[in-house]
């Protein structure tokens, strides 16, 4: 077993880059939509053989066991090469939770199936009445003999129509004094009569989001992870690393690169107003990267990130949106045209970028929620 953490950062980066550049299928680079598993299965097989499916998991569970510094490099290289995240909900979300809070039996059963993608997971958190106010969730799970019986509805469940299992937050004690209490974390199979999936078509015409309806769906009680009614705290414990990842500069950097080649081809740089707005956007990206490195350095020193890391997400997602808006502007009369626009030898799908940037300020805790967090936890502003 290779000890990746013992390598120098530069060596490790070279190793990852070399593998991705040699092995990652060209047709999957910078994929504009979320793929179904079948579309990326050949890539997943390679990753699985290499043992690189779960970079953050400890080696004993089949992961790479990377520390924060190496993990950051791994993700940076993936993003740099336009590597698709794949169907990584299992690896990113449910796996770490089982590793941290699950029983030995749960680990033995579920973890290998996540790595092999025998099970493909989706995340059942949001509900129609529980978005930013997630703790308001109402989907019930009641104990009936050896099973939980689940009733309710989840929404914004990414790729639920291509998942075999769902991990979900459910209400197991509706009488708990605070709504954050009485929530549990359970795993459930999708393929059963009581589960119905309906896809939601987004503004960009994609169908990656779903609604999932539960009508007396069942899951064995042994699929409860952690203690009953402790699901909220567990789910929150997982978010720490996610928060720097979601604020990484790569999406904005890639968009800026696209904007530049597109605008150059279109002659937009002849306009001094456009030049200044481009310079603003480019500097916004560069200066964000400086702040990002400050947080990354903190992680590399082994420190835990504070709530202030939320500022990365606010800045970079809003910047990403401005960049894609500039693309639309540079497209002029083609600004509403669907599909790739050809300029010289590059083709840029201006609308796809624009749409891709919209939900970034909404998901992962909307930017308004991030501002609430910063104002309370960092600035200490009163209620």
């Amino acid at each position: 077993m290779t000890d990746w953490n013992a390598m120098s950062d530069a060596e490790f980066r070279k190793e990852v880059r070399g593998f991705l550049e040699a092995e990652y299928p060209e047709e999957l680079r910078h994929l504009p939509h979320r793929p179904k598993f079948a579309e990326i299965e050949h890539w997943h097989r390679k990753l699985h053989t290499k043992g690189w499916v779960a970079p953050a998991w400890p080696a004993e569970y089949g992961g790479m066991g990377l520390n924060a510094a190496k993990l950051l490099i791994f993700y940076e290289e993936q993003q740099r090469w336009g590597v698709n995240r794949g169907r990584d909900m299992g690896v990113q979300m449910v796996g770490p939770l089982i590793i941290k809070f699950g029983t030995q039996k749960q680990k033995n059963y579920w973890l290998p199936r996540i790595l092999s993608c025998e099970d493909i997971w989706c995340q059942g958190y949001s509900e129609p009445g529980a978005g930013s106010d997630l703790a308001n969730l109402r989907t019930r799970a009641e104990i009936d003999g050896d099973d939980f019986v689940i009733n309710g509805q989840k929404i914004w469940t990414t790729m639920a129509h291509d998942a075999t299992h769902i991990f979900m937050l459910v209400r197991t004690d509706p009488d708990a004094p605070k709504k954050q209490q009485g929530i549990s974390f359970v795993l459930a199979p999708m393929d059963q009569p009581g589960v119905e999936v309906r896809t939601i078509t987004t503004l960009s015409g994609e169908t990656e989001f779903c609604e999932v309806f539960f009508d007396n769906a069942r899951t064995p009680r042994e699929n409860l992870v952690g203690e009953l009614n402790k699901g909220w705290t567990m789910a929150k414990a997982l978010l720490s690393f996610e928060r720097i990842f979601i604020g990484s500069p790569s999406l904005a950097q890639n968009a800026l690169g696209q904007l530049e080649s597109f605008a150059r081809g279109r002659g937009a740089f002849d306009d001094p107003v456009f030049r200044d707005r481009f310079a603003q956007a480019a500097l916004d990206v560069e200066d964000h990267a400086a702040l990002y490195s400050r947080f990354a350095d903190q992680l590399k020193r082994g420190e835990t990130l504070g709530a202030d890391v939320s500022m990365l997400k606010i800045w970079v997602t809003e910047c990403f949106q401005r960049i894609t808006e500039l693309m639309i502007e540079a497209a002029g009369p083609d600004g509403g045209t669907v599909g790739p626009l050809q300029v010289g030898n590059v083709s840029v799908d201006v609308l796809a970028s624009f749409y891709k940037a919209r939900p970034t300020t909404i998901y992962g805790g909307s930017n308004e929620i991030q501002r609430n967090i910063l104002s309370k936890a960092v600035l200490g502003l009163p209620d």
Binding site: R275, D287, A290, R371, L379
Partner: protein
């Protein structure tokens, strides 16, 4: 990533600079000096010199501390926090920047490091329309003719370091403030300081250096000063934000602190993010400038820093007034001093729009060269 040793050195430097300025009276001292109509405090200059503040970026073999621009940035941030009127950045960036590059043996260098001399640098010129113009100020037969503008520290200086044109190209000369044929006009600035407009008519001056080296040294020194001015604005913005944050936590309306209202909270967060991005960017720029020898890359980095710092300072100081409400518009609250200082520092050596243009053009040139 900085080495931990260097990081520790900078942290100590920051602490001692902060203590020094706080002990001297913080921003209250700046208000007093402004009200007294003075430019800056010569005793404070001496004290800063004794503490080694001016020599931080001067190499050790030339009598400085050899800690680089990153250390200069630490000092500049602290100057900005208390809006100290002493020309610290102008001295570190321009005065010492020119002397150490062109004539390190000159006794003025040591005096300037020690805070025993004052030396204002005159390099820009005003064209017929009032905007900046190419240099026309002449130096011949040991005498200066023409004019210079936007000279920081002109009010309290003993000598001027002047960049002028001679037959053999640009020269760097030293002229006494009391020399014959030199008329200094002070243009009052928003923060109570002044910028000097100099007019020479056969003013005697001593040549210190000449030729292409002068132009090179000037460009480098201006880049240094630009990046340090950015650091000064970062410290200023940070402090203006802290003052505002304290204010919205304590000011009550509708029986609650106004900082409990979400619209105020979100505005405060945006200012905070602005400050943090500016601080991270400017500190990164200074570190990179220390490790960079290519003059055009250094200049581009400096432009990036000033563009960011001006954008942040403008947003922070103006929103700070709004968040203070009516009292923010009075001279009784310190927050206005920060706004005024930000106006002056933003205009000096180019604002954000100017530096974005420079930055973009330099980026295009580099792109074309590749």
């Amino acid at each position: 990533m900085q080495s931990s040793e260097q990081e520790e050195d900078l942290r100590l430097l920051r602490e001692s600079a902060r203590t020094l300025f706080d002990r001297a009276g913080g921003s209250g001292r700046s208000r007093k000096l402004r009200d007294a109509g003075g430019e800056f405090d010569p005793d404070m200059v001496r004290e800063l010199g004794e503490a080694g503040v001016f020599g931080v970026a001067v190499p050790e073999e030339q009598g400085g501390l050899g800690m680089g621009l990153a250390a200069g940035g630490v000092i500049a941030e602290e100057v900005g926090r208390v809006i100290a009127p002493e020309p610290v950045v102008a001295t570190i960036g321009l005065g010492l920047g020119l002397l150490r590059r062109l004539c390190p043996e000159h006794p003025k260098l040591e005096q300037l490091i020690g805070g025993e001399a004052s030396l204002a640098v005159a390099w820009q010129e005003r064209g017929p329309g009032g905007a900046s113009a190419d240099a026309t100020c002449r130096y011949a037969d040991g005498k200066l003719t023409g004019g210079k503008a936007w000279v920081v520290g002109a009010g309290g200086t003993q000598d001027f370091l002047v960049v002028a044109e001679a037959d053999g190209g640009p020269v760097l000369v030293l002229a006494e403030a009391s020399a014959d044929g030199l008329v200094t006009t002070r243009r009052a600035q928003a923060d109570g300081s002044s910028l000097g407009e100099l007019s020479f008519s056969g003013t005697p001056a001593a040549e210190l250096a000449c030729g292409a080296a002068v132009q090179r040294a000037l460009s480098e020194a201006v880049a240094d000063a630009t990046a340090l001015a950015a650091a000064e604005l970062v410290g200023l913005s940070q402090r203006a934000f802290e003052i505002t944050l304290d204010y919205i936590k304590t000011r009550e309306q509708f029986d609650k602190p106004i900082g409990s209202f979400q619209v105020i909270q979100h505005r405060a967060v945006d200012l905070n993010v602005m400050c943090e991005v500016a601080q991270a960017a400017v500190r990164e720029v200074l570190m990179r400038m220390d490790g960079e020898t290519d003059a055009s890359i250094r200049a581009r980095l400096a432009s990036r820093a000033k563009a960011r710092a001006v954008t942040a300072a403008r947003k922070v100081t103006r929103d700070a007034i709004q968040l203070h409400g009516a009292v923010g518009y009075t001279d009784e609250f310190d927050i206005g001093l920060y706004l005024n200082r930000a106006l002056v520092l933003s205009a000096w050596l180019g604002d954000d729009a100017y530096h974005r243009r420079i930055w973009f053009d330099a980026r295009e040139e580099e792109g074309a060269a590749q």
